[in-house]
Amino acid sequence: MPKVSSKLAAAVKCSDEFNAAACMHCGICTAVCPMGYEILPRKLFRYVQVGLEDKVKENIPNIYSCLLCGMCSENCPAEVNIPENVRFLRKYINENEFNLS
């Protein structure tokens, strides 16, 4: 069973960059995503918000395949800055998974 990581949850919570609190899980972002992955970006963001680090790691290829095209944020009714959130995620993974800084 995937475990909630206190560290990721706290990092997300304390970050000014990652802000998906306004997300209402309507799924428009997923529908318009040109990459067509089921996980991007709604489900991924839920994993991040809840702090399911294992699930986030499983999806590293998806996170890096995002084009940052901004279709999702353009269409988001809750005005979540989705590409910015993806950048935050990449930074977190670079630091904590690939030990880059």
Partner: protein, 583 residues
Amino acid sequence: MAQKRRIGVYVCHCGGNISDYVNVEEVADAVRNDPNVVVSRTHMFTCSDAAQQEMIDEIKEKQLDGLVIASCSPKLHMFTFRGMSERANLNQYQYIHVNLREQCSWVHTNDKVGATKKGIHLLRAGIAKCELTVPLNAIRIETKPRVLVVGAGVSGMRAAISLADMGLAVFLIEREAEAGGWALQTGKMGPEAQDGTDVVAKLLTRINQHENIMLHTSAEVVSKSGSIGDFNVSVRLPGDETVSLNVGAIVVTTGFEPYTPQTDEYGWGAPGVIPLKDFRQMLAEADGPLMHNGKPVRDVAFIYCVGSRQLKSESCPEPNSYCSRYCCLATTYTATLLHDLEQKTGQPVNQYHLYRDVRTYGALEPIYEKARTGGAIFLRWDPSNPPQVTTEGDQLTVKAKDHLLGGEELEIGADLVVLATGMRPRENDTLNDILKIPESKDGFYNEIHLKLRPVETMIDGVFIAGTAQGPKTLAESVASSLAAVAKTGGLLMKGYVDLEPLIAKVDTDKCIWCGECLKACPYGAIEKVNVGEKEIAFVIESMCKGAGPCVPVCPHNAIEIEGFRDDQITAMIDASIKELETK
């Protein structure tokens, strides 16, 4: 039929509601030549001012001594026409209401001929009943300008102050040694961040200064007698001193009991699994980062609906099926308090809120919004899959399924599991035996009608308010206690109350006191009295509601309900089948 009567009959079209299916002219014609009928007419709307004035004029002019109106349900217009009768100098209890709409036209829209025939039967029965009516007068009871308020929580105190402001003398009694109730333990309350102890202190100051309020703590009700407007209540004060209070009304604000989870319910009993109240205490006392077991608290799981909205199961044979109303507000408000502490100490605390439905209704929604945008994670659970709390050493784990991830399972390692426990009705058998207020299926005191008569009980003159009636937030409790004040004031400020005279009547010759009627009466309105050598039943007028369970159980037919006497009922049956016999 004993004597000749002069009865007026009026049949209403109800603007088509009746006349579309019942031929009202035919109905009026059918009874026009009946022996005691002086006049029989139809009106488009009998309830209209013009029609009422015409009827009043006709009652006076033709000196009618009985009135039958065939129209809608008596629930709607019986009191309208009773008032009209009085204005025409006709005793209001000599007016009979026949329901030609709900009981005839609306239910027989497929059979106009049959509906008309039935209309005639119903009207004949009404006339037969009217022929046997006698003039009656309302029972007038003088009310005492004093009130007993049982329970000095916030609801009770607020009610006492407003009643006293009206000029009524108020006795406020509290079982505990201190007035204030649960508000003393809540700390800061949402949405306005008022402190419970401050609220109580302010109310207490006003109570102590008010010359019309007498507050007794450590006091209990020991007995009650009398009825609306004139109760005698004995109250035991500390030191076994008993005082007798004569009051016109009683307001019951005895409050609730917090729900205590069963062992192992959401890990209850394990260290670190605490009720919301205790967590709030921790928050209030924290002067730095939140600590538990000597370690800083990093993850907190809140579980909602503990002891509320339960489903019946083997482990829960008597579920609390109701919503406790305050917990969503209190828990989301706690989330904002925790955010504030986080800001102050710089130590992040992850909050996981496992909820069923967030019911921060009305103006409370911004609190939920604030909790959510502050970073609290809300995870919805389904009653078929409640969260599981397990312990390993001092590590608590909550397993849940996330609704937004399509039911994916996840595990939350928590330092604290906080249970938002609901409200239970207070167990107070002694008081219940004395007051005899009916209880709802949830065990709270039952109001007469949740929307239309929310603070009145089946016992006239006894009102309920606050959480004694059902779970409420503090604001709702105060609103209901002020509603009870309005009702109590309405009853007592006038100085008297008029009660329906359609009540039980004992035939003193026939009665031999077997006690069956006493056993049948749910209102305790029957007493044994001695008349000379003989013991007979006596009806306490102010307590009898004319419900009638005493009538069929009497082996000697010695008791009857005025307005529904045996001779009237028999006459109604005879009259309504008259046509059938002659066919």
